[in-house]
Amino acid sequence: MAIHEKSLIDPDRIMTHESLVVDGVDVSGHWNTMVAPRFLSDYDDDFVNVIRAYPGGENVHRCWQCGSCTNSCTMYAQNTDFNPRYWIYLTNLGLKSEILKDKDIIWTCVSCNKCTNICPKDVRPEGVMKALAHWLEDEGHTDKTRSSIFDEEFTGQVLDHGRIEDAHVVINFLRKTKQPYFQDWLIEAVKRLMRHMPVGMLTMLGWNFLFTPKTRSWGRTGEVLREYVREQKAAAHARMKEAAHV
C-alpha cells in the first residue's frame, strides 16, 4: 500500500490495479495503486438545457450563487451535504460527475418551497431539485422513488381496467417497494372496515378483489389512453427541450 491518509482522497479517484506496467516497468504489487488527478477538465455545455427541459428546471440558468436557497433549506438544516445552491452551479456548468456524487440525497427535497419563495432571481430551486431527481431517475442513476412506483401502479390499473382496486393498489405497492404486507396501520384499517362496513359492500369488495372486473365497455380505451399519454409526454419533452435552447 503506497498511499497514506487515503481517507483524504475521493474513493473514485483511487485506482488499484491487479497488475500494472508503467513505461515498461512492472509495478504490480506494492506500487499497484494510483490516484487520478483531481482537476476538472471540461464542462458539458448542453447539460443545463437537458435539466431546463424538465418541468421545474426552466430557470436554473438564472442563478448567481447567492446561497439564499441553501440558507433557507429545510433539508440543509438536517444534512449539510444537501446544498441546492451547489447543485444549481454544477448544473449550469454541466459538471455531471460532481452531481452524481450526491445522487442519493438530491431526491430527499421535501418541497417546502422556502428556497423558491426567497430566491432573488426567481430560479425556483425546488423545481430544480425535482428536475434533477427526475433526470437521475430517467438516466437510471437512482432507483425509482416510492411515489413514482405508487403512481405507476395506480395508473396502470386504471388503464387496464378503467378503475382501481384499492386492495390491489396497496398490496402491489408494498410488494414492489419490498415492504412487508402486514403493516400495523393496514391491519387496523382492515379491522375497522370489517367492523363497520355493510355486508353487501363487503361482499362486493371481496368479489372485486378476486375477479377485478373492468369498467363496462372499457374495450380498447386503456390502450388508446396509454398511447395518447405517451405521445403527449414525448411532445412536451421535445417542446421544452427546444425552448431551453432558445
Binding site: L40, D45, H61, L93, L95
Partner: protein
C-alpha cells in the same frame, strides 16, 4: 477679464466640457495630442457603447461635430501643452506647435491608458494569438465576424477573464476599474448575437455591474444570452495538446477543485490605468497625483472637479476609472467651474 477656457484632451469628458463653455457663449481652446478627436472610444475602436447601445463613432461623432461646428471653439489636434504660466483668471499656455494660449481657467480631461496585458504574461497575451483584450474583441465585434485570429475558425467557446490589471497587488493596481464587468457582460451578448453557436463564459471574483447596469447587462446577459459565470481567478493560460485550443487553468472556488478547461478564445477584460503621461502632465500643469497615479482631486464637496491647483479643473477618467456617461457629466460640471473662474480677476479687483 478672460474670455477663454483651455480644455486639454478631446475625449468624451473634454468634448462635453467644450460644449459647456460654448453654450455659455465663451471661447474654448481644445488641445488634443492625437491627430483626431473622440478619445478612447474612437482611438481604440470601441463597438457599441454602454449603456446606450449606440455605435461609438455615431455617439462620439455627434459630440465632435457640436464642438467643431462652433465659431467659439479653436481646436488643435496633434498638439500638446508644453508649459504653463500665470494663475487663475490669467493663465498662458505654450503649445507644442509654438502657439500661446491665454485662458482664464483650464479643464484637464486627459483620460486614462488601457492596461497592457503584457504585464500579466501568465495569461497568455502576446504569447498566443487567440488571447485578446476587450478592446480587440470590441474591434472584432465592430467588424461583424467572430473568429479565432490564429486560423479563422468560429470559436465554440470564448471566455472572458475579469479584473485583468485591476484589483491586483502583484502588479500594483489596487483599484477596481469599475466598467469592465458591465463591458464584459455586454460583450458576451454581442458575441452571442453575431455567433449564436459560441458559448461565452465569464471568470469572475465579484460581478460589479453597479446601478442600473445590473439587470440591463448582467441579468440580461445571463438570462437571455446564456452567458455562464464561473467563480475562479485564472492562474495561467497554456496551449492545449491539440496545438489549437487554449487551456485555462485555475481553481473553481465554488467546487473547490482545480480546473483545466479548453477554450478557443480567451479575452482579457483589461482595466483602466492612469494615463502613462500623468507625471509629465502633473509637472507641466503643476498639479498633484493621488497614490495610484491618477490626477489628485481637491476636496469634492465645495470644490467639485477641482485639482490641487486653483483654476485647473479635472473631469473623467483622468481622476480614476470612469464610465463614458459619467465622464460626460463631469465635463459639464468642470466647465461650469471653469466658466466661473473667468471672472476671478474681476472679483479680485472689485
Amino acid at each position: 477679464m478672460q474670455n477663454t477656457v483651455l480644455v486639454v484632451g478631446g475625449g468624451p469628458a473634454g468634448l462635453s466640457a467644450c460644449a459647456g463653455v460654448i453654450g455659455a457663449g465663451k471661447n474654448v481652446v481644445l488641445v488634443e495630442k492625437e491627430d483626431r478627436l473622440g478619445g478612447a472610444p474612437i482611438l481604440s475602436g470601441y463597438a457599441k457603447l454602454v449603456p446606450s447601445g449606440e455605435w461609438a463613432k455615431d455617439a462620439m461623432g455627434r459630440m465632435i461635430k457640436r464642438v467643431e461646428d462652433s465659431a467659439l471653439a479653436k481646436i488643435h489636434t496633434g498638439t500638446r501643452v508644453v508649459s504653463l504660466d500665470g494663475s487663475v483668471g490669467d493663465f498662458t499656455a505654450t503649445l507644442s506647435n509654438g502657439e500661446r494660449v491665454s485662458a482664464g481657467s483650464i479643464v484637464l480631461t486627459t483620460g486614462f491608458t488601457h492596461f497592457d496585458s503584457i504585464n500579466k504574461p501568465e495569461w497568455g497575451f502576446g504569447t498566443f494569438e487567440d488571447v485578446l483584450t476587450t478592446t480587440q474583441m470590441e474591434q472584432m465585434v465592430a467588424g461583424g465576424k467572430i473568429a479565432c485570429p490564429s486560423d479563422g475558425r468560429v470559436p465554440e467557446r470564448v471566455c472572458i477573464l475579469l479584473c485583468v490589471g485591476s484589483r491586483d497587488r502583484q502588479i500594483g493596481r489596487e483599484w477596481c476599474s469599475k466598467i469592465c464587468c458591465t463591458v464584459s457582460t455586454n460583450l458576451a451578448m454581442e458575441i452571442k448575437e453575431i455567433s449564436p453557436q459560441t458559448d461565452v463564459f465569464i471568470y469572475y471574483m465579484d460581478i460589479r455591474t453597479f446601478g442600473l447596469y445590473e439587470d440591463k447587462f448582467y441579468w440580461k446577459s445571463q438570462e437571455e444570452f446564456k452567458t455562464k459565470f464561473v467563480k475562479a481567478r485564472i492562474a495561467e493560460v497554456t496551449r492545449a495538446p491539440d496545438g489549437k485550443r487554449l487551456l485555462v487553468k485555475g481553481e473553481d472556488t465554488l467546487v473547490k477543485r482545480p480546473i483545466v478547461i479548453p477554450f478557443d478564445i480567451v479575452v482579457h477584460a483589461i482595466g483602466m490605468d492612469p494615463n502613462v503621461e500623468n507625471t509629465e502632465i502633473a509637472r507641466v500643469f503643476g498639479i498633484g497625483l493621488e497614490k495610484h497615479g491618477f490626477i489628485d482631486r481637491a476636496e469634492h464637496y465645495t470644490n467639485t472637479c477641482g485639482s490641487t491647483r486653483r483654476g485647473i479643473y479635472v473631469a473623467g477618467a483622468a481622476l480614476g476609472p470612469e464610465t463614458i456617461d459619467d465622464s460626460i457629466s463631469q465635463g459639464q460640471a468642470a466647465a461650469s467651474r471653469a466658466l466661473a473662474d473667468l471672472y476671478a480677476l474681476v472679483q479680485k479687483t472689485a
